[in-house]
Symmetry: C2
Subunit: 541 residues, 2 copies
């Protein structure tokens, strides 16, 4: 055609933040996402691979291709942005995890999870920090002060909860899944507090009052974040139940659930809380109350739409990390001393291994002491799996490392450049090698686990959606156990010996008497038999 | 708490494109969206209101509140960005319209729709342009050359297809809906070509070869955009059918459909085509083939998830336009001559009314000439509704006006400032006044229309989702008519007298013999009786 059609309009349309190059990038990225989905589907049957590693490898390959076509000038098509990660990718992943988590398992192991997530992360932080101070002292890695070393401890104590979702199966190993994933969620809150505390502390004058402040801060963050998430979930349940949205439109219900969950996450940004904790608990409350108040088609839609959004975000994330890893800018400063860089990465990996071992085994021992029933104790084999499955470091570590070591925009200082490239190396290595070996390790240590090799990774982000019945939520997905009530505990002795079960019993009583009549939930949801949706679902057969 | 918790991390997280103010804006916006949904639900029963006007008024009110609290300094919390509009908000709306449109109605009226959309838009463009040249000549509105006047013609010929979706009901008035909405989709292609052609043309030397170029350009744009959308839809159908995704994961199917639809839209940005046409036809093909190849739960999920995304985007859009309308910057230049500004707006509104009347009635007459059956003719009452329902001007007009008149960033030139404010005035007035009066007008002119006042706006973006059966798609939603085949036409005479029906007959033959065996579709979808999802859906009763 004669003149450049649309160029003028497009230059207007995309003038704000994008240009022709961004449009090309977006197209390439979406095409790669489609490729990941197709390849992931085709590799479904294999024992070793999972979707995240497929995406990571595809990202690396694309990076190599771009590196070759641009003759070494550039390897990534989108610069890693913490904004994109924390504002768009993380919320759907964590919300969906809360939405689909087996709540009974999660709350039964609540004390263990908190112990591992809070105390464990602190132990790991101290191990890695002091290990780094001690080991890096003699190496030639530029100017890194004690603050940087402590930051390294915080960065490498942040486990990757997204990767955990991929390597452990909620259906096959519910106990391990709840421990490792729950720990990952609490771990985030701890890491955020730690990282911020370190940036604000005067490290030369550490006194008890500052330590007390730190502990108080952690509790404040934990409690208010959880409360905000629970509040948002309950509010959505109450509004949808009171106004009975499904009467007019099923889309409004779904829209309201999505928007309120996202609002709770964005509010934490405003109030400086832990968004991961908030949106996780919002997901739990929404699946316990709100989900039962909406129409049947909204239930199917939310279950699968949230899982799909989370799935896309996860795949995007790993593709992104894989492609960003080859960024030539970052590697420029380390090219003159590759041995040094490999050494730093190896040391950091060993510290990650040691730091996690330093709390998993002692704390498991402590946790086992409080339990009488041998079935409830964490066996040594399970301890090994817990240790191993939490070794992956992911986008959170990268985001924190970027925040700490690229403050001035680029990595001009030698020490900073080495730290960035080492973080990328640790993330790639731990995700690929530890990730690939997790499934065989579980097969080796827990050979009796049912339906293992084939079903394990079939539904990485929403393990329930295939195996659970579509329109009911039995199988431990809700807090209550409907038909078979627990043996009625009646004495204080029981509360002391089986605190979790007793708390669970009283919670169920309270839930049935107070919460459900107000906020809805299974058995208390409004139901209009004549509504067209109900008819069409039930008449579908 | 002692120190500002999270401030450091956040300043890192949001450093790229956002800051504390953006987080506040996002929170406020999401909260307003939730308010719109709740208020829209409560106003469901009223005859006059619809969701878009609720959002527009809520946006205006918020603008006033912000204006008062910031003491007149600012009224909007997000600056209107064409990027946001064209990249994020428009695609889900148009895709969903194609996905949920009653295809039989749409293709039966295909010739009329193309006539109205292409020829009609040109007539409207010439009427408004020459009207503006003639009427604005004597007014004191700054320096506007003939190119600006022609641009005004293109800007105000762009109907708002989003608003059309809201004021007409696909279930009550399927014929009118297909005509007015279909026209809006074709209208977009015409407006884009017109607008770009005007920006590139040497207006002093208009010769026949340039006119020929322009016509060829339009056909090229129309055909390639449609082809790209159809291709993307068929590709998704083929991949999902061949690989049978549902076997492993329902999320992958949904993700692939979303990503491929969006990819087709973004590819048009790259190839300088009309994204609206592409994504509309992609939606049509996906609902005809792909939708039948996925699992039952994916069908429910896609139907409602796409409707929900479209619903959120629509509400967001009207909220946004309402809030942006009060931007103090734009009104500064017109405050010294309010009478002038009102005059320009009134003239433009009259020209919009006249321009649309100038093609609706003559073209309806022409269209009626080709039809023998009196039932198929467009009655005068229907012509009035078609004329009226397409009067709304919306975000497309605003985006084009911004592109034309704020090229240098701000509206320093007096003429440009007046044009921007007049566009906003016309958009607000036409959406609110014409929009509010559409429903009463339809009630007045077509009083026999069934289920009118209550159901009309219950499902603005997805009219099918409540009334149609959940898991089947009868009622004209697919091209075929399954059980009752048309009378077999066998002669050339029939092709000449009833071309649409004959084309439809041969299309159905071709569809059943060639297309469906390859791409799936109703009756050709893979079905595994033993899969857990099928069981649970069918066992749900």
């Amino acid at each position: 055609m004669g003149f450049e059609l649309g160029t003028v309009l497009r230059s207007g349309i995309l003038s704000t933040t994008s240009d022709h190059a961004s449009v090309v990038s977006i197209n390439l990225f979406i095409a790669l996402l489609c490729a990941c989905i197709v390849i992931g589907h085709l590799l479904e049957e294999t024992k070793w691979m999972n979707e995240s590693i497929t995406a990571l490898i595809l990202g690396l390959c694309t990076g190599v291709v771009i590196l070759l076509t641009t003759k070494g000038k550039s390897s990534h098509i989108l610069v890693f942005s913490e904004d994109l990660f924390f504002i768009y990718l993380l919320p759907p992943i964590i919300f969906n995890a809360g939405f689909q988590v087996k709540k009974k398992q999660f709350f039964r192991n609540f004390m263990t999870i908190t112990l591992f997530g809070a105390v464990g992360t602190l132990i790991s932080f101290f191990t890695i920090s002091f290990g780094a101070i001690w080991l890096f002292k003699k190496m030639d890695i530029g100017d890194l002060d004690i603050g940087d070393m402590l930051a390294i401890g915080a960065i490498f104590s942040a486990t990757d909860s997204v990767c955990t979702l991929q390597v452990l199966s909620q259906d096959d190993t519910p106990f391990l899944y709840s421990i490792v994933f729950g720990e990952g969620v609490v771990n985030d809150a701890t890491s955020v507090v730690l990282f911020n505390a370190l940036q604000n502390f005067d490290l030369d004058h550490i006194d008890p009052s500052q330590l007390f402040k730190f502990v108080m801060n952690f509790f404040y963050l934990f409690v208010t974040s959880t409360f905000l998430g629970v509040f948002a979930g309950l509010l959505s349940a109450y509004i949808i139940k009171k106004l009975y949205f499904g009467r007019h439109s099923t889309d409004r219900e779904v829209a309201l659930m999505m928007l309120m969950a996202y609002l709770s996450y964005m509010l934490t940004e405003l109030l400086d809380l832990s968004g991961i904790l908030t949106v996780f608990f919002c997901g739990i409350v929404m699946s316990h109350y709100t989900w039962h108040n909406v129409t049947e088609s909204s239930r199917v839609t939310t279950k699968h739409a949230f899982a799909t959004l989370s799935f896309i975000a996860e795949t995007f994330l790993f593709l992104y990390v894989g492609m960003d890893a080859l960024d030539i800018e970052k590697w420029k400063f380390t090219s003159d001393s590759p041995a040094n860089s490999i050494g730093v990465s190896a040391i950091l990996l060993s510290l990650v291994l040691a730091g996690r071992a330093a709390f998993v085994f002692p704390l498991s021992f402590l946790s086992n002491l409080t339990k009488r029933n041998p079935d409830e104790k964490i066996s040594f084999r399970k301890q090994i799996i817990i240790w191993w499955a939490g070794l992956m470091r992911g986008a959170v570590s990268i985001a924190l490392a970027y925040n700490k070591f690229t403050r001035s925009g680029h990595t001009e200082i030698r020490g900073n450049a080495i730290m960035i490239t080492s973080t990328i190396t640790v993330v790639l290595f731990s995700t690929m090698v530890f990730g690939l070996m997790t499934k065989p390790l579980i097969n080796l240590l827990l050979p009796t686990s049912p339906r293992h090799s084939s079903d394990n990774n079939s539904e990485p982000s929403s393990p329930k959606s295939l195996t659970a019945p579509l329109l009911s939520s039995l199988n431990g997905s809700d807090l209550e156990i409907g038909d078979h009530p627990l043996n009625r505990p009646s004495s204080l002795r029981l509360l002391l010996t089986k605190p979790a079960k007793t708390v669970h019993f009283y919670w169920r009583k309270f839930d049935n008497a107070v919460m459900r009549p107000v906020f809805g939930g299974r058995g208390f949801a409004p139901y209009v038999p004549g509504s067209p949706i109900e008819q069409s679902v039930h008449g579908g057969d």
